[in-house]
């Protein structure tokens, strides 16, 4: 009798705890001009931001839902609470953070990670940042790492925010970008001055605790010429039966010959709709490196875009998606070659099991002026049973003859030949299969700092039973 490899669901128990919310902290659910004005009032927005929010709302109201991708029928926008008042101002000392919020981040290991391996940490709880801190020596090098609201009100950065905010991802981009523009709250602002090489990463962690709420943080990072930054983003939420929404936005500006590595371990609970937008623009000789692990959410639309605007700019996307029961994860990347001699590479893996649906979706566009550009895409999918689904939908649009674009994709199950080979080297079948599945995720884990790679490997906990006859 043939028995399939058993790979357990992701163990989410570490993330699945919650604290009661005070209903008085919630703004009304739904998305109306009154609510947008109220959010703006709560946050003390400058006038330009208030006008921007209301304009984005108009765009949201007239924009259709996307006509492709997973269904979002279960998302009732009239029931989503878009803003929850903070219980605490932003702090720079964990001892000043309210006890239950501090306990939340302790359980998630954030303060410990900050002590051991990070240059700075931002922690968002529901709608607002509750903690932000950066090491003294890092701050002294001129690196700015703070919440976006503080930066917007700081005379030193206010113009920079106004110049860059939602310029890469305009509200007209799609319906949920418009929603984000209207109701955004929280998120981080990072500025790395020219020539500064930050050897250890910064991390922002986003926790959505409240039931039936949305999180709409905005991350804006500017890495100036010849600088280097590794930024890590983590997110989680406890599970509720009511749908939650994450419609964050990430905008990355990478200067000439600068490098920005952006790593994400996404582990939202399975009631979440993760409709996130991430985009970078890269100047001459610059590099952007996306490392992405998508494990959570009920539905995900996530395709970080890299716009290679300078000669010789480079983009890399390395990702893994694990879709289990009740999940429909549509992930991938988009790369626009918009300057000569630009290069890009995508390497993605996906695993589907227990009825989960995983879709790899990509776009590579080589514009007329991108002569001498090169791009390669590789995607592999592993099906672990016959009730799941795995699709790959890549697209290439090439507008110049002087380029080289390659694409390859593979889909299938665990190779019997590979199992046979490993068994011939003395491994038992269960160990051989476990090794193959672990190795399948290796492209992402080897790109992460050790402690995050270990967390990711723990997320894909393997339980092998039976054998293949």
């Amino acid at each position: 009798m043939k028995r399939n490899t058993q790979v357990s669901d992701i163990d989410r128990s570490r993330y699945d705890f919650r604290y009661a919310e005070d209903a008085a902290d919630f703004l009304s659910s739904g998305i109306t001009p009154e609510i947008i004005r109220e959010i703006s009032e709560e946050k003390g927005d400058p006038e330009w931001m208030r006008a921007f929010r209301l304009h984005a709302l108009e765009i949201f109201q007239r924009t259709e839902m996307p006509g492709w991708g997973p269904p979002v029928d279960g998302l009732n926008m009239d029931r989503i609470v878009t803003y929850i008042r903070p219980k605490s101002r932003m702090n720079t000392d964990w001892n000043d953070v309210p006890e239950n919020i501090k306990a939340t981040f302790e359980k998630l290991g954030i303060p410990q990670a900050e002590r051991e391996s990070l240059a700075g940490v931002g922690a968002q709880y529901d709608s607002e940042l509750v903690y932000h801190n950066v090491r003294k020596e890092v701050a002294e090098s001129g690196v700015v790492y703070t919440d976006l609201e503080s930066a917007m009100h700081d005379p030193k950065y206010a113009d920079m925010i106004r110049t860059h905010f939602m310029k890469l991802v305009p509200p007209t981009d799609h319906k949920f970008a418009a929603l984000h523009g209207a109701v955004w709250s929280g998120g981080s602002f990072v500025y790395v001055p020219a020539g500064v090489h930050l050897d250890i990463p910064l991390q922002s962690y986003f926790r959505l605790n409240a039931k039936g709420a949305g999180q709409f943080e905005h991350t804006l990072i500017i890495v100036e010429d010849n600088a280097y930054l590794h930024f890590i983003e983590g997110c989680s939420a406890p599970k509720y039966y009511e749908a939650g929404l994450h419609a964050g936005c990430v905008e990355l500006y990478v200067g000439r010959h600068a490098t920005l590595r952006y790593s994400t371990i996404e582990n939202w609970s399975k009631n979440m709709y993760n409709l996130n937008t991430k985009r970078s623009v890269v100047a001459e000789g610059g590099r952007v490196e996306w490392v992405s692990g998508s494990f959570g959410s009920h539905v995900s639309y996530l395709y970080p875009m890299s716009i290679l605007n300078g000669r010789g700019a480079h983009a890399e996307f390395t990702g893994i998606t694990f879709a289990g029961e009740g999940q429909n994860l549509d992930t991938g990347a988009k790369i626009i070659h918009n300057a000569p001699e630009t290069t890009s590479h995508m390497d993605t893996k996906s695993i589907s099991k227990s009825g989960g649906i995983s879709t790899f979706r990509s776009a590579v566009v080589v514009k007329e002026n991108a002569v001498g550009s090169r791009s390669s895409v590789s995607c592999e999918s592993l099906m672990l049973d016959d009730i799941s689904r795995s699709d790959t939908v890549p697209a290439m649009d090439i507008r110049t003859d002087k380029c080289d674009v390659g694409h390859e994709a593979k889909i299938g199950r665990i190779s019997d030949d590979a199992v046979f080979y490993l068994m011939s080297r003395g491994l038992d079948e269960q160990t051989a299969r476990a090794m193959i599945v672990s190795g399948f995720a290796d492209n992402v884990s080897k790109e992460l700092p050790l402690e995050y790679a270990m967390e990711m490997n723990n997320l894909i906990r393997l339980e092998m039973t039976g054998n293949v006859g």
């Binding site: 566009v365 699709d391 697209a395 003859d401 593979k410 299938g412």
Partner: protein, 290 residues
């Protein structure tokens, strides 16, 4: 004339790419109905110059040369148990909307060979159902496109039967301001255990104003399958150019040779000497290939 979105991608993607389908006006008029019973031995030959509804059955080779303007061509192929059909379409000048649908029973096979010789504006849809156990579909598609001409291909292979196999190989050359879209979908349906599917496209881009869109899709609802697709788009490998230049061949000539050789490999799949010779004569490569 009615405007319709045709050649729709089975799994739509980002709308801004404009690859989810193509909009065309469908010409009015009643098509001519033609039925062909393929048989072993001599190939059945058709010259198509107007809108046609063609049905193909039996076991054997059918060759259709198409040179029409504003024509709509529907072809339905039915391969019964164990039948083997080779269907060749050669599209020459003109503009047309072509749709080929095929149903294959157990152990049936269909070899589809399509050659596009610089048609003005051609929309070509192919939808093949591998319903039968161990049914096999192979397709070899070659195109040469120049000037302002446009070609839009949508190939959808649906593998439902157990142990079915599909293999698609597309080779093309774009010149001038030519625009081409190729959508190729391998669709493994639940229950098609033991099936394999492969798809490749190689596109040679010869002028800076060409536009190429390639969308190779795999849809998979079955565990026990193996699917691959690959695409290679761009110029000729510099090592090949260097080698041929070292043999005294000028660069312009090298590009011509390789472009025609690429199409030549698809022409060689037709399996009918007379037709192959005709095409080579049109391309001016008869002597070179002889």
């Amino acid at each position: 004339m009615a405007t319709q979105i045709i050649n729709q991608l089975p799994a739509p993607t980002f709308s801004w790419l404009g690859v989810n389908g193509c909009e065309r006006e469908l010409p009015d008029g009643t098509p001519e109905a033609v039925a062909v019973k393929a048989a072993a031995g001599e190939a059945a030959r058709l010259e198509i110059g107007r809108s046609t509804d063609l049905t193909v059955q039996g076991s054997g080779t059918v060759i259709a040369k198409i040179a029409a303007d504003d024509a709509v061509l529907h072809t339905h192929i039915r391969a019964g148990y164990g039948e083997q059909i080779r269907f060749v379409q050669i599209f020459q000048n003109g503009s047309a909307i072509s749709e080929v649908t095929a149903d294959l029973d157990d152990t049936a096979s269909l070899a589809l060979i399509q050659i596009y010789l610089n048609p003005n504006d051609l929309v070509s849809g192919i939808r093949v159902h591998l319903n039968g156990r161990k049914s096999v579909f192979t397709s070899r598609i070659g195109y040469l496109l120049d000037g302002e001409h446009a070609l839009d291909i949508n190939l959808h292979v649906i593998q439902s039967g157990k142990k079915t196999a599909s293999d698609t190989d597309v080779k093309g050359v774009l010149r001038g301001h030519a625009k081409k879209t190729f959508r190729g979908t391998i669709d493994f349906r639940n229950g098609c255990a033991g099936s394999v599917g492969a798809e490749r496209e190689e596109v040679l881009l010869m002028d800076e104003a060409v536009q190429n869109q390639t969308v190779p899709v795999i849809l998979c609802a079955e565990e026990d399958v193996s699917g691959t697709h690959g695409a290679s788009i761009g110029q000729i490998d510099s090592k090949h150019i260097f080698y041929l230049q070292s043999r005294g061949i000028p660069e312009d000539r090298i590009y011509e040779m390789i472009a025609l050789a690429r199409l030549g490999s698809v022409i060689a799949e037709i399996g009918d000497a007379e037709t192959e010779s005709d095409i080579r004569r049109q391309l001016g490569t008869e002597d070179a290939d002889a």
